[in-house]
């Protein structure tokens, strides 16, 4: 039996005191971090507070930070968490208010699911089926990863946007929203995509940092879900926002020169159309970029057009060809899908 040191981030709400406390625990092979917390609570300090229930990585109660990363403590073995005999650091989840020791107030996290209305909205004009609502296996396979969330909060705890913005819906609620957008039994797909595009703290505020993908103990892949929501929202025509203008501007630079055109990108994100129609907010946004541009000029970071490499001539020709081919293929696919949709509607007698 080996000894392992745990350094636990503690908080006492009665005295409003935050402090670190060290405990030594005898550990057996295969012992988890949660087993060790129980050992501390039962044998050394009964006041240590943390949440737990199932001990089988399914209830989602015991997510906390182990060595700075959020994970389920019942799923994390001491051997895996201990590096070169260093102490294991255990702390409460991030981005949430700490109630006591390792217990956080999960209300803000759960509120995001309510905001995104992540429950099934069935078609009201349809009689319920005789047996059950069916979903095609192939359809389910495509998005099933997003349905395995256990609401443990590990992704929200490590989310880099939630760290600076209370208003961000966060990876878990967005992944759950994606799950209902994809579900053919749900009637609110369009409304959902519109909400997720336009709501402050929606899909366009994600930084693509992969923290949530890394933290999730159930491979929900929240960020992948958010990225797919972006594609679906653009396809559904929700394009009047900075995120989509940024995407379109980026694409046009790469199509022209084979490379990103970062000089034009701020203008394109603000929106040339908005600027030309005298949109005051847009002009204020442009003014905000001016000091930064002047700094770049002063530090001689902005190269002249002649100095800036794009792809060579042969490359540009091929890149343009690929853009055209992919566009054509997509159009072809859309026509197919439309024909299929019409056929489908006829078959089921309209919706």
């Amino acid at each position: 039996m080996a000894q392992q040191e745990f350094i636990i981030q503690r908080y006492n709400p009665d005295t409003d005191e935050s402090y670190e406390e060290s405990f030594n625990v005898d550990v057996q092979p295969g012992q988890t971090v949660l087993d060790s917390l129980n050992a501390i609570k039962w044998e050394q300090d009964g006041t240590l507070s943390f949440r737990m229930s199932c001990r089988h990585a399914i209830c989602g109660s015991c997510a906390m930070k182990v060595n700075g990363q959020s994970m389920l403590s019942c799923q994390t073995q001491v051997d895996a968490a201990a590096e070169r005999g260093d102490p294991i650091r255990v702390g409460p989840q991030g981005n949430q208010h700490v109630i006591k020791d390792l217990v956080v107030d999960v209300e803000k996290f759960l509120l995001q699911f309510e905001r995104a209305e992540t429950w099934l909205e069935p078609y009201e004009d349809q009689d319920p089926p005789e047996r059950e609502y069916r979903q095609k296996v192939e359809e389910f396979d495509h998005w099933s990863h997003a349905s395995t969330c256990i609401h443990c909060g590990a992704c929200y705890s490590d989310c880099t946007v939630a760290a600076v913005d209370e208003n961000f819906l966060g990876p878990a609620a967005l992944a759950k929203a994606y799950r209902f957008v994809m579900d053919s039994r749900d009637s609110k797909r369009e409304e959902r995509l519109q909400f997720l595009s336009e709501e402050q703290g929606g899909i366009w505020d994600c930084t693509r940092c992969y923290m949530c993908v890394q933290a999730c103990p159930k491979d929900v892949l929240p960020m992948d879900a958010i990225m797919e929501l972006r594609t679906l929202a653009i396809e559904a025509g929700h394009v009047n926002n900075h995120g989509v203008r940024h995407h379109k501007g980026f694409m046009s630079g790469v199509r022209k020169r084979g490379r990103l055109d970062e000089m034009m990108l701020p203008v394109q994100s603000v929106g040339i159309g908005r600027l030309l129609t005298g949109n005051l907010a847009a002009h204020k946004e442009m003014m905000d970029y001016t000091p930064g541009a002047i700094r770049l000029l002063k530090s001689r970071k902005l190269l002249t057009i002649a100095q800036r490499h794009g792809a060579n001539a042969e490359g540009r020709e091929q890149i343009e060809r690929i853009f055209e081919e992919v566009e054509a293929e997509k159009h072809h696919h859309d026509v197919d899908a439309e024909a299929f949709g019409a056929e489908f509607e006829t078959a089921i007698g309209g919706h």
Partner: protein, 292 residues
């Protein structure tokens, strides 16, 4: 002489030209032969794939196929580029998908067969050049410096695409390089987080709060400068630093070095050659400290 297919990325040839010139200077000094992929396209940085994931995949398959056709290992100098290349390479393990993508490459005589392992210069320094050789080239040890690593998301996440188990040096590559060159690595929470750059034009306040928070934390832990393998992080941490300071209401004065600049300084190259005069945050105090 070790030879590489070299993808510089857009920012190194755009708003961070000092990354490009310092990479070439350091490579020459180390005897690395870089064959630039001049016909290749931007990786899309996850932004093309916001609306056109398939298009982004085709563009990256093309770059990987070029490197494969030249029979040279692929070297990136940007965390974002290497991350996007690796995520693409992961998708192309699906043979059916690769066949579909290859239709678009055939007209220019390319085909991606799935053999490329895209790597960052930082990894190549540790894995190919080696600690001994780097050690032997150090002319100006950086003992006086406390340096904070700033990785850029895609060099640390998602772990499944980074092969950390087979290549354990990748896990803390930046700390290792800093220590090999004689400097002290400063540990702080923000070092593996997001710099905020991807949302600069969508949500400036959030973006600059991220940059400012990490800079402030590293500065208060005694860092003389940060070192980053990602030019996008460099843009938010260096070029936007005065605005980030305003957003978080703190005084910030922390120079940001690119990886080849750090190595070049240790190998005795001139600051001018390394483009250290082309930063927004002045590097003079840092250079005086090491007598450069």
């Amino acid at each position: 002489m070790s030879k590489y297919a070299f993808w510089p990325g857009c920012v190194a040839q755009g708003a961070a030209p000092e990354l490009y010139t310092s990479t070439l200077a350091v490579a020459e000094h180390l005897g690395m032969d870089l064959v630039e992929l001049e016909a290749a396209a931007c990786t899309g940085a996850g932004i093309i794939s916001d609306g056109e994931p398939y298009l982004q995949d085709v563009l990256n398959a093309r770059t990987l196929a070029m490197s494969e056709q030249m029979d040279l290992p692929l070297m990136d100098i940007c965390s974002t580029c290497v991350g996007v290349h690796r995520l693409a390479a992961e998708k192309f393990r699906d043979v059916d998908y690769r066949i579909r993508i290859n239709h678009h490459l055939a007209p220019e005589g390319l085909e991606y067969r799935g053999t490329v392992d895209p790597r960052h210069l930082l990894w190549i320094l540790l894995e190919d050049v080696g600690i001994d050789k780097i050690n032997s080239m150090v002319k100006r040890p950086l003992e006086e410096l406390n340096l904070g690593p700033f990785y850029g998301c895609y060099l640390v996440r998602p772990e499944r695409t980074l092969d950390f188990d087979a290549n354990p040096t990748r896990r803390d590559s930046l700390e290792q390089l800093i220590e090999i060159l004689g400097a002290t690595s400063v540990t702080y929470d923000g070092m593996t987080k997001c710099c905020g750059f991807p949302i600069l034009t969508m949500n400036k306040k959030n973006s600059l709060t991220m940059a400012g928070t990490h800079l402030d934390e590293a500065q208060s832990k005694g860092a003389d400068a940060l070192v980053t393998p990602c030019p996008l992080c460099h843009l938010n941490l260096d070029a936007q630093q005065p605005d980030a300071a305003k957003v978080i209401d703190r005084n910030l004065n922390l120079p940001i070095l690119h990886v080849p600049q750090l190595l070049g300084l240790a190998m005795g190259l001139e600051p001018e050659t390394l483009g250290l005069t082309r930063h927004v945050v002045d590097t003079n105090r840092l250079l005086n400290k090491i007598g450069a």
